[in-house]
C-alpha cells in the first residue's frame, strides 16, 4: 500500500528526540509548543508531576531549547562582549548563568554558557538567538557558531532522588559533581554529558547526548529510576517549581527586548534583580553605558518576591500601597499556591520607591463562576521560597 501523504505536514509541530516515549506517557494529550516543537504541558496531572520534582524525580524535555556551539580563538572574547557577566577565566567544564542586553541595556534573553574547551562554548537559551549572534560576532575574526538545537538531545532530570538514579545508571562519581559543573561519561557507545544544572531550585542534572542515543538514554534512565519514582513532567509543573525557586520566565517576568513594542515595557537586569550578573569591571560589553546609568539611577520597577496572606493565588493582580487601593504601585507577574512551602507566593514588578512601604494585592477569583475581589496584604521575601540544602550539597545527602 502506498503511504498516504500528510497534506498538513507543514503545519504540524516537530517532534523531539524523546517524543515516542513521551507520547506513550502523555495520557491527557496535553500538548503545547515551544520553538516549533510539540511539547507537553503535562502528562498525567500537574500537581503529581510537580511533586515528583520535589519528592522523587522527573524528566523534562529540553530538546526545544536553543543550543549554539561557539568555537574559535575569539569565541571567549566575543561572548564576553555579548553578555553582561564576566566569563573570562571560567574553568573548563563549568556552566554559568548569563543575560545579554541591547545597546539600551534592555534584556534580550537569559541563558547559560557551558565552557567545553579552551576555545569551545555552548550557549543555551529559551528563544532563538541566531540573528543576535550574527550581529555579535561582527568584528571578531576567529569565531564560528553553529546552531546545534536539533542536533543535541537534552533532558532535564530534577528531584531529590536524581543522584541515586544516575548512580544506578552507572555514572561513576556523579555524586561528586558540584553545582554548575560538567562531567562526561561514555554511554552505550556514545558520549553523555551531564551538567548539574536545572530550573527547579532542587537537586538536579541536565543530560546531553547525540540524538541517536536519545531513546536508549530514556529507556535506561527509566529502568534505573523505576524504584525512585521517575516520571516525565511538563511545562505546568516546571512553572510551579521555578517560581518557588524564584527564577524568571520570559513572557511572564520579562519581555525579550527585541520583541517588545512599547518603549520601556522591556526590562533591564537591575529591574529583574539580576544586577549581580552585570560586571562593570570587565572590558566593554553590550549595553554597558546604559546599564551604568540604570545602576546609578535605580530601576523604575524591581522584581520582588511576595508572600501573600490567604490562599487565593494573586494571578495578574494589581498592587497598591494602601488597602483602599487608591495608588497603584505594581503588578504580579507570576503567582501560585506553593504546595511544598504552604504559602501563597508571587513574583511582582513593584515601583522601586514603594518597596519599603505597605504592599496590597487586589485579587480577583471565581467561586463557581461568581467573581469575587479580595485585597490581601503582601510581605516582601528576600530569599527564594524553596531552597533545600540538597540542591547545593556535594555529595547531595541521601534524599
Amino acid at each position: 500500500m502506498m503511504k498516504t501523504e500528510d497534506r498538513w505536514a507543514g503545519e504540524r509541530l516537530k517532534e523531539t528526540h524523546f517524543h515516542p516515549r513521551e507520547a506513550a506517557l502523555n495520557l491527557r494529550d496535553a500538548w503545547s509548543s515551544w520553538n516549533g516543537y510539540k511539547f507537553a504541558d503535562y502528562y498525567y496531572d500537574t500537581e503529581y508531576e510537580y511533586f515528583c520534582v520535589r519528592n522523587s524525580c522527573g524528566t523534562y524535555d529540553i530538546c526545544p531549547m536553543q543550543k549554539y556551539e561557539i568555537t574559535g580563538g575569539d569565541a571567549e572574547a566575543m561572548l564576553n562582549r555579548m553578555v553582561t557577566r564576566n566569563i573570562v577565566g571560567m574553568s573548563e567544564n563549568r556552566v554559568t548563568y548569563v543575560c545579554w542586553c541591547t545597546d539600551e541595556g534592555r534584556m534580550i534573553d537569559d541563558g547559560t554558557i557551558f565552557k567545553l574547551g579552551p576555545e569551545k562554548f555552548m550557549l543555551t537559551c529559551g528563544s532563538p538567538c541566531l540573528a543576535w549572534l550574527e550581529k555579535s560576532v561582527f568584528g571578531f575574526g576567529d569565531v564560528k557558531f553553529v546552531d546545534m538545537s536539533d542536533k543535541i538531545a537534552a533532558l532535564s532530570f530534577q528531584g531529590p532522588t536524581t543522584c541515586a538514579v544516575l548512580k544506578k545508571l552507572g555514572l561513576k562519581g556523579i555524586e561528586n559533581l558540584k553545582p554548575y559543573n560538567i562531567k562526561h561519561f561514555s554511554f552505550q557507545g556514545g558520549k553523555l554529558m551531564v551538567s548539574r544544572t536545572g530550573f527547579t531550585g532542587d537537586l538536579g542534572y541536565e543530560l546531553w547526548i547525540a540524538p541517536k542515543y536519545a531513546l536508549g538514554l530514556w529507556d535506561a534512565l527509566y529502568a534505573a529510576g523505576e524504584d525512585f519514582g521517575i516520571q516525565p513532567y511538563g511545562e505546568a509543573a516546571t512553572n510551579m517549581a521555578r517560581l518557588e525557586a524564584g527564577f524568571i520566565m520570559p513572557d511572564m517576568e520579562f519581555n525579550e527586548a527585541l520583541k517588545t513594542v512599547h518603549f520601556r515595557y522591556d526590562q533591564t537586569p537591575f529591574g529583574l534583580n539580576l544586577g549581580w550578573l552585570v560586571d562593570f569591571k570587565k572590558p566593554h560589553f553590550n549595553g554597558r553605558r546604559a546599564l551604568l546609568q540604570e545602576r546609578s539611577k535605580g530601576p523604575e520597577y524591581t522584581l520582588t518576591k511576595l508572600d501573600i496572606e490567604g490562599n487565593k493565588p494573586a494571578e495578574e493582580a494589581t498592587l497598591y500601597c494602601d488597602k483602599r487601593c487608591t495608588r497603584q504601585i505594581g503588578y504580579v507577574t507570576s503567582a501560585m499556591w506553593s504546595p511544598v512551602v504552604k504559602a501563597n507566593i508571587a513574583l511582582a514588578m513593584i515601583k522601586t520607591e514603594y518597596l519599603q512601604g505597605d504592599i496590597w494585592a487586589e485579587i480577583y477569583f471565581g467561586k463557581e463562576l461568581r467573581q469575587t475581589r479580595k485585597v490581601a496584604k503582601c510581605t516582601v521575601q528576600k530569599k527564594p521560597f524553596w531552597a533545600p540544602a540538597r540542591a547545593r550539597a556535594t555529595p547531595p545527602q541521601a534524599y
Binding site: Y44, F51, S56, D227, G310, W337, P339, A343
Partner: protein
Amino acid sequence: MKRYDAIIIGAGHNGLTNAAYLAKAGLDVLVVEKNEYIGGAAVSRELHSGFTYSSCSYVCSMMRQAIHRDLNLTKHGLVLVPYLGSVAFGDDGSTLVSYPTEGAGYNQLRRYSPHDADSMFRFQADLTRYSQLIRKTLLRTPPDPTSFRPRDIREMLFLARQFWALGEKELYEYIRFFTMSAAEYLEDYFEDDLVKATMASPGIIGTALGVYSPGSAYILLHHVMGDVDGNIGAWGLARGGMGAISNAIAGALQEHGGEIRTNAGVRQILVKDGKAFGVALENGDELHARIVVSNLDAKRTFTQIMDKDDLPPGIYKKAKNFKIRGSSGKINIALSGLPKFTGVPDNRYVNRGGQTFVGSLETMERAYDCWKHGRWSDDPFIESVIPSAWDPTVAPPGQHWMSNFVQYCPSELADGPWTPEKRDQFGQTVIDKIERYSPGFKDLILHMEIRTPFEIEAEVGLTEGNIFQGELTIDQLLFNRPFPGYAQYRMPIKNMYMCGSSTHPGGGVSSACGANAAREILLDLRRPNTVPEDDFYDE
C-alpha cells in the same frame, strides 16, 4: 523549685502544637511524654532496618494549612505529598479505581452503572457543601449555647450564619445527615453495591459503628472534609512518615524556647484548693506550673491521672462513661517488593496509591457483627496504603512497606484477654485476606508489626485504642466534646486545660485541638493571641 508557665502532658501532635503556640507567646513551657519518643499517634518508627513505619496514623488531610504555614513547618522538615490512584476491591474481585480526572472516573463508573456515574456529580457537590460548612468550625472554639457572653453569642451567630447559608432545604438535609447511617445516606445516590460500599467505607474507619449504624454518615464526612492544598477530600503522605509532622512541630516549639522531656510519664495531676499546680511523674519527681494542659483523652485524664476527690461531682462519671470504644487494628508490613493485585493494571498510576478491601455493604456489616460479639472480623474491612511507592525515604529502593488499617478489632475479646498468640492470629486473618487479592503477597513479607487496640492503648495511651480519643458521634461533637459545658478547653479544675483529640474538632492529625486550646489559654492569661485564623473562609 522552678515553676513553669505551663506543663503539657503528652507529646502527641496536639500537645506539641499547644506548647508551640504558648511558647510563641513567650511562655515558659515544658512537654512531658511517657514514651521515649514523641508524636503519640502521629509517629514514624524504624522497627525493621531500613523501613520507617507510620505506626499509627498513616495519611494526612486534616492538618491545618494555616498552622503549617504559621509555624513554618516546612523549614522544620515537613513536606506533605498528595497521593493518587486508590483501588477499591469488591468481594468478587471487581475493582473501582479513584482516578484523578473526572473523565476517567466517569467512564469507569459507567461500566458499573450509568446512573451512578451521573449521580456521583451530585454526591460530590453535596458532600463538598457539608464539608465546607464543617471545615469552617475546625480552628474555632465551639460556643457554649447556654451562655450569654458576647463571645459565645458571636460564635453562635457565626455558626447560625453558616447553616443558614445552606438554604432551607439543605438545612433539613444536613440535620438528617448528622443522624443517618452511611449506607442509608448513599441509598439516595447510588444503586451499585460496590460503588455504595466504596463510598461508605470512610464512615466506619476508627469508629465502633457499622455502615448501617446511625451516625456513620458524619464519620464519612469527617474523613473527607480535609484537604491537601485546597483539594477537599484529597489525602497526602508526610515525607518521612507521620512522625515528620510531630517532629516539625517539635522543631517549631524548640525554636520558640519550649522544652520536651521524654520518658517522663505523669502519674498524677497535682491539685490544691481546686487549682491545678503541677504534675507528679511516675519516677516520683514533682514539677510545678501555673497551668497544666492534658493531651490525653478525656477518660484517661480524669480517671487515671487525677484523684477522684479533686474533681467536682459528676465529672468522674461523665469521664467514665465517655464513649471511647476501640474498634481498629493496624498492621504495618515490610515487603521485599511491590505487591501486585489481581485485576489492577501494573502501571505507575493505579498500582501505587492505596487499596481498600471493601467487599460489599453486607461484608462490612458482618465485619461489624464480629466486633459486637467481642471477636475480630473474620473478613475485615482493610484500608491499605503503600507509602514507599510515593515516599523514597521510608524503605530501601525496590522494597516497600504497607500500612493496613483494619476494621474491626475489639479492645476486649469475648474469650478472655488479648495475648500475643491472639494478636498474631488477628494479623494472620488480615494477611490471608490480602493474599486473596494479591497471590504471592505473603512471600514478600519481611517483617510485620501487628497492633490491636490493646497495643495501641499500651503504647500511645489511647484508651481502649480508640483512634479519635473518643467517638465522633453527635453527642460528643462540637459543644458536646468532650462533655457538654466543657467544650472550650477549660476543665472543671482551675488552671487546667485539655488539648487532645478528645476536644473539638476531634480525632485526626489536624493540630486544631492543640491550637484552639492555646488560644483559650492565652486569653485567660491575658497574653496576645498567637494562633492564626484558618485561611479558607472565602471558600
